[in-house]
């Protein structure tokens, strides 16, 4: 676990909320804030590849996800239980993620200077 995080962004939802979370996380990268992103609950569905969002309007977050690494956000956690619950295979996701095991989130929150939940 990292002990020098300035910001811990926790996303629990998909859709617009997830897009806003990614936007904020990318901005944190621009401002060189050492930031980690945590995907919990339905937010792990962001990791499903080839999403076709045109029919239902929400912004496709694939480009935002791909940009995380470019913006210096190289620590992305996905809750292992949620991945299993939503049938998202950790080996088939479009970006590198670390699976978050029960109990690890508390350590991340304790070690981060600020935690923001979306």
């Amino acid at each position: 676990m990292n002990t020098t995080l300035a910001l811990l962004m926790i996303c629990r939802r998909s859709g617009y909320t997830a897009s806003a979370c990614l936007e904020t996380t990318l901005t944190a990268g621009v401002y060189e804030q050492h930031t980690a992103l945590v995907l919990l609950d339905e937010a792990v569905t962001l990791l499903v590849t080839d999403q076709q969002t045109n029919e239902v309007q929400p912004k496709n977050v694939a480009q935002q996800l791909a940009a995380l690494d470019l913006y210096g956000i190289d620590i992305v956690y996905a809750d292992a239980g949620a991945l299993a619950c939503y049938g998202v295979g950790a080996d088939s996701v479009p970006i590198a993620v670390k699976q978050l095991q029960p109990g690890e989130l508390a350590c991340l929150v304790a070690d981060a200077r600020h935690t923001v939940v979306f």
Binding site: E23, T24, T27, Y31, H114, T115, V116
Partner: protein, 79 residues
């Protein structure tokens, strides 16, 4: 704008920030998405009027990052 016999939450916020001189910043993207604009945004979007209560200012994510960097704590209210 709530009905007259209901609690006026926006005005309560306004009273709070005025009484305690709080720097109250509204996310410009979220406000626009919900049809709330200050005078500058109204002009930029060629609208005839603004509807943001006095006391609030609009800001972007850069301002939020500055707040994160300088605040001793972040308090978050989730629905």
């Amino acid at each position: 704008m709530p009905p007259q016999d209901e609690f006026h939450l926006p005005r309560a916020w306004q009273n709070l920030i005025e009484r305690h001189s709080i720097d109250a910043v509204v996310c410009v993207a979220s406000a626009l998405k919900r049809g709330i604009v200050d005078q500058a945004e109204a002009q930029r979007h060629v609208l005839t009027g603004s509807n943001m209560l006095p006391g609030f200012t609009v800001g972007g994510l850069g301002l939020l990052m500055d707040a994160f960097a300088n605040a001793d704590r972040v308090v978050h209210f989730a629905p």
